[in-house]
Amino acid sequence: MHALLAVPFLGALVLACIPSAHMRAVRVVGVLWCCVPLAVAIGLFVQDDTGVSYTVHAPWIAWTVGGTAVHIPWHVSLDGFSMPFVMLAAIVCAVSGVAGFLLTKRWKAFYVLLLLLTTAVFGVFVARDVVLFFLFFELTLVPMFFLIGMFGKYGRERAANVFLVYNGIGSAVLFLAVVLLIVHAGSFAVVGTPTMGNSFTSDYAVIASNLAAMPHDGMHTVLFWLFFLAFAIKLPVFPLHTWMLRVHGEAHPAIVIVHSGVLLKMGAFGMLMFSFVLFPEVLRGAASALAVGAVVTIVVGAVMACAQKDVRLVFAYASLSHMGFVLLGMVAMNDNGVQGALFQLVSHGLISALLFFAVAVIETRTQTSDIASLGGLGQPMPFASAMLMIGALAALGLPGLSGFVGEWLVLVGAYDQWRTLTVIATGSVVLSAVYMLRVVLGIVFGPPPQKHRADVRTIEAFPMVFVAACIVVLGVYPSVLHDVTREATKTIVAPYEQLVDVGGGV
C-alpha cells in the first residue's frame, strides 16, 4: 500500500532530474507516471473488495513533554472509508496529468508538482494519525499554490494568494485543533507504568476511543467547531467559498480538475472524520444549524450559477451547490445520508474532472470561457460536445448517471430529519437543470463558429471516455461503490445513532 505514496513521489524525483530541455521526454514520462498510481489503486481495489483493509502501524516519532511521552505513530490504513477517495484521487490525478498536455509551457514544473500533490492527497486519505493527516493536508497546500500561480489566466497570482491566505488560515486553525485534540484526548496509560502513567499519542483510533469514553465537556464543543471551521474553508461552505471561485476562474483547467475533483473532497473527508465522527454529541446539538447552512450553500450555489457568464464560474458555483449536498448528507448522519454524501463526493469528483477537461479542450481551441462568445461547437467538435453533455446531465442529476444516486440518497437521508429543508434542497435540483442546460446548450448549439475548430485528439478523448464510463457505471450499478463503503458507513454512523436512540431522537 505504501506504493501509493512512493510511486508519485518517486515520479516527481525522476522528473526533476530530466532536463527541462527534453520537453517530449518530460511530457511522456509525466503522463505515463500519472497513470501508474491509478494502476496501483485499481490493483488494490480489485484485490480488496471484501472489506479487508491494508494497515500499517509503526512507531515514528516519540519524545517526552513534562515527564509524559508523546508518540506520533506512522499509522496509515486503506479501509472502506478511504478506498473510494483513493480511487477518485487516482483517477482524477491521471486525468489531470493528461490534461497537462494542453499546457503551453513549463511541463516539467507541472508534472513534478502534480505528482507531489498526488502523493500528499493519497497521504491525506490514508493517514489514520492526526499529525500525519495534518502533515499531508498541509503538504497539499504548497504544490497547489505553485500550480495555481504558475499556470492559468491573468488573475492567477491573485487567485494563488487568496488560496494561500484562506487555506493558510484553515490549516492554522486545523493545527491548533490538532494540538488541542492531542493534549485533550491523546493521553493513554502505558501498561506497566502505574505512577507516571500518562503518555500522549496522536493515533486517531486511540483518540477516538478516548473521546468516546470521556464525558462531554466544553472542550469538545471548541474542538468540533475548530475542526469544522478548518474544513469548511476547504469544502467550502457558503460564506467561505470566495477563494474557490477565484481558483476555478483563473487557474488552468488541468489544475481545476485536481482542485475541484480531489482537494474539495479532502474538506469533506476531514470534516466527517474529525468533526462529526469524533464528537457526535456536539453534532447532535448543531446538526439542524449545520443543515440550514448546507441548504443555504446548495441554494446560493444554484442561484448564483444561473447568473454567471463564464462557464468556469457556472461550474464553480455548481460545485458549491453539490458540496452543500455533501454537507447535508453528512450532518444527517444516518446510513443513507453518509452513503449518499460519499457517493456524491466520488461522483462529483468524476463529473468535475469530465466537465473541466471538456472546458480545457474547448478553451485550448477558442481561447475563451465566456458563454456568450462560445456557441455552435456541436458541429465542429461533436465528441467534446457529447462529453460536455454527459457531464452536465450527470451534474443535474439525471437518473442513470452517477449524480442522481448521490443526491437521491442524501435527500432520502435528510428527509427523515428536516422535511422543509429537504424540499428546498430538492427545489434546487430543478435550478441545476436550468443552469447546466443553459450553459451546455449555449455552447453546443447555435450558429457554428466561422473559424475551424478541430475536434479532440485521441490522447484527449481517452481520459474523457474513461471518466464518462465511470460515471455511467456508477449511475447504473451503484453497488460497485456501495459495497465498499457500506461497512465503513455503519461504523461511522453507529455512535451517533446510538446517541440518538438513547436520547429519544432529535
Partner: protein, 493 residues
C-alpha cells in the same frame, strides 16, 4: 588566601574557546605577514571553527562535566550542545562571507573578527558568574560593532553607532541590576548568589533588579518593545554580518537569558519573571509578524522575522514555569537547530542573489527559477521551514513548542500562547511567500546570473541548510531522542 588561578587542566576544559583564541592570533599574524589573499584567511577561519567544533564534540561525547575557577565557567552537555549549534551557525556565516565582494575597509579582519565575537557567545553559554558573563557579552557586542562598522558605506558606521549606544544602555541596565544583586549577596557567582538571595528581606529590590536584568537581555534579543534597533542595525550591516547578528548573537542572548533565569532568577521570583517574559513574548509574537509584513528590504524583513522566531524560542522557557525539565531543553535545542538552519540558509540565499552596492531587496529573487532552478528549489525548502510548513524542521519545531506550551501551562496562558503562535504563522505565510512569488512568477530581474552559480561556499551553506531542514522534517524523532539522551544527565543533576 591562597591564590587560585587558571591551570593548564582548566584550559583543556575550555578547549573550544582556547582553540578559537589560538586560531585568531595565528590568523591575524598570518594576515599581517603573509599578505595572503582574502579567501585563504576566510578558509583559515573556517578551519579554526572546525577545530573548535571538533573539541566541543569531543567534550560532548566524553560527557565532560567540569568547572573552572570555583564554577565561573562550566562545561556540561547543554553548554557543549549550545556551542556546537553556535559553531555550526558561525561556519554557515563564514561560508556566506567567503566570496562575497568586499565592501569593507579591511582584508583579513573581515573574517578574523567573527572569531572573537563567537568566542564571546560561547563563553556566555558556559559562564556561571556575572563578571565573566558581562565581559563575554561585551566581547560579543564590541566585535560585532567593529564588524558592522568596517563596512565602507556610511550606513554601516551609522548602524555601528546605534549598536554602541544601545548596547551601552542595555549593559548599563544589566550592570545596575547586577549591582543590586551584588549589594544583597556580596558575590557575583550565580550559584552562591542564588543561595544567598533572601526574598524575605529585600523582595522589592531583588524584583526590580531581576526586571532590569531581564529587560536588558530582552534588548539584546530584540524582543518587541526593545526591537527598533535590530531593524536599523540589521539593515546597516553587510549580509554575512547581518546573518551573524540574527543567528549567533541572538541565540547567544537567548541562551544567556535561559541560563540566568534557571540559575538565579527562577529560584526566587519565578512568577514575576515569567509574567514579564510572557508579556514580552506575546507582544513580540504579534508585533514582529505585523511589522514584517511592511518590510520590503530583505535584511529588515529577516531582522524582524528573527524576532518572532526568538519569541518562539522563549516559549519553552516560560511554558515550563519555574523549572524547565529535560523536555523543555530538548525542544528548545531542536528549534534552535531548526532556526540556525533556516536563517543561515535564508541569508545564504540573500547573499547569493545580491548585487553589491545595493540594499538586498525582495526583487532580487525575481525569476530566479529561470536562471538557477535548483537554487530556487533549495530556497523553497528554506522558506517552507521558515513558514513552518511541513515537511521541514520549522514545522516540527513549532509543533513541539505548541504541544509543550499547551500541556505544560494549564488554562488560558497556554492557549493564548498557542493561538498567538498560530496566528503569527498565518501572517508569516504572506511575507515569506513573497520571496517564492518573486522566484517563480516574475520575469527575470535585473541581477546578472553570474554570482549564483560560482560561489561554492555559499551554495554549500544554502544546500546544507535546505537539506538539513528537510531531513529534520522527515525524521524529527531522531534528533529529539539524541538531544534528550545527551542532556538528560546535565539537567537532572
Amino acid at each position: 588566601m591562597t591564590t587560585i588561578t587558571l591551570r593548564l587542566s582548566d584550559l583543556v576544559i575550555m578547549a573550544p574557546e582556547c582553540i578559537l583564541l589560538l586560531g585568531v592570533v595565528v590568523l591575524t599574524l598570518a594576515d599581517l605577514w603573509m599578505k595572503s589573499s582574502r579567501t585563504s584567511i576566510g578558509i583559515g577561519a573556517l578551519v579554526v571553527l572546525c577545530g573548535a567544533l571538533a573539541a566541543a564534540v569531543v567534550q560532548l561525547v566524553q560527557e565532560t562535566d567540569a568547572t573552572v575557577l570555583f564554577g565561573a565557567y562550566e562545561a556540561d552537555a547543554f553548554s557543549s550542545l549550545c556551542k556546537i549549534v553556535l559553531l555550526l551557525a558561525a561556519c554557515g556565516v563564514l561560508g556566506i562571507a567567503i566570496g562575497t565582494p568586499n565592501e569593507t575597509h579591511a582584508v583579513g579582519e573581515m573574517y578574523t573578527l567573527y572569531i572573537p565575537a563567537l568566542m564571546g557567545a560561547m563563553l556566555l553559554v558556559s559562564s556561571r558568574e556575572w563578571m565573566t558573563t558581562y565581559v563575554a557579552l561585551e566581547l560579543l557586542t564590541i566585535s560585532t560593532i567593529v564588524l558592522i562598522g568596517m563596512r565602507r558605506a556610511a550606513i554601516g558606521k551609522e548602524a555601528a553607532m546605534k549598536l554602541i549606544v544601545l548596547g551601552g544602555v542595555s549593559s548599563a541596565f544589566l550592570l545596575y541590576g547586577i549591582s543590586f544583586l551584588y549589594g544583597c549577596t556580596g558575590t557575583t557567582y550565580y550559584e552562591v548568589m542564588a543561595s544567598r538571595l533572601d526574598m524575605g528581606q529585600d523582595a522589592s529590590l531583588i524584583t526590580i533588579a531581576f526586571v532590569m536584568i531581564v529587560a536588558s537581555i530582552a534588548v539584546k534579543i530584540a524582543l518587541v518593545p526593545f526591537h527598533a534597533w535590530a531593524l536599523d542595525v540589521g539593515a546597516g550591516a553587510v549580509v554575512p554580518v547581518a546573518a551573524f547578528l540574527s543567528v549567533v548573537s541572538k541565540l547567544a542572548a537567548i541562551i544567556l537569558l535561559w541560563r540566568v533565569c534557571v540559575d538565579v532568577l527562577f529560584p526566587h521570583a519565578a512568577d514575576v519573571v515569567v509574567d514579564v517574559l510572557f508579556v514580552l513574548v506575546c507582544v513580540s509574537l504579534v508585533v514582529a509578524h505585523v511589522l514584517a509584513l511592511r518590510q520590503v528590504t530583505l535584511l529588515r524583513l529577516f531582522a524582524v522575522s528573527g524576532i518572532a522566531h526568538a519569541a518562539l524560542l522563549l516559549v519553552p522557557l516560560i511554558a515550563s514555569g519555574t523549572r524547565p525539565d529535560v523536555d523543555a531543553w530538548t525542544i528548545w535545542l531542536y528549534y534552535a537547530v531548526a532556526y540556525v538552519l533556516m536563517n543561515v540558509g535564508a541569508f545564504a540565499a540573500i547573499s547569493l542573489t545580491h548585487t553589491t552596492g545595493t540594499q538586498p531587496h525582495v526583487h532580487q529573487f525575481a525569476g530566479l527559477v529561470y536562471r538557477a532552478p535548483w537554487t530556487a528549489v533549495a530556497i523553497v525548502c528554506i522558506v517552507l521551514s521558515l513558514a513552518g510548513l511541513p515537511v521541514s524542521a520549522g514545522f516540527f519545531g513549532k509543533l513541539f513548542i505548541l504541544l509543550d506550551a499547551l500541556s505544560q501551562r494549564e488554562g488560558t496562558a497556554g492557549i493564548v500562547l498557542a493561538a498567538l503562535i498560530v496566528v503569527g504563522t498565518v501572517i508569516s505565510f504572506a511575507y515569506y511567500f513573497r520571496i517564492v512569488r518573486q522566484m517563480f512568477w516574475r520575469p527575470e530581474g535585473p541581477v546578472p546570473p553570474s554570482s549564483v552559480r560560482t560561489r561554492w561556499f555559499a551554495q554549500t551553506v544554502l544546500w546544507g541548510s535546505a537539506l538539513g531542514s528537510v531531513a529534520l522534517g522527515c525524521a524529527p524523532g531522531w534528533l529529539m531522542e539524541l538531544l534528550a539522551q545527551l542532556i538528560a544527565h546535565t539537567v537532572v543533576s
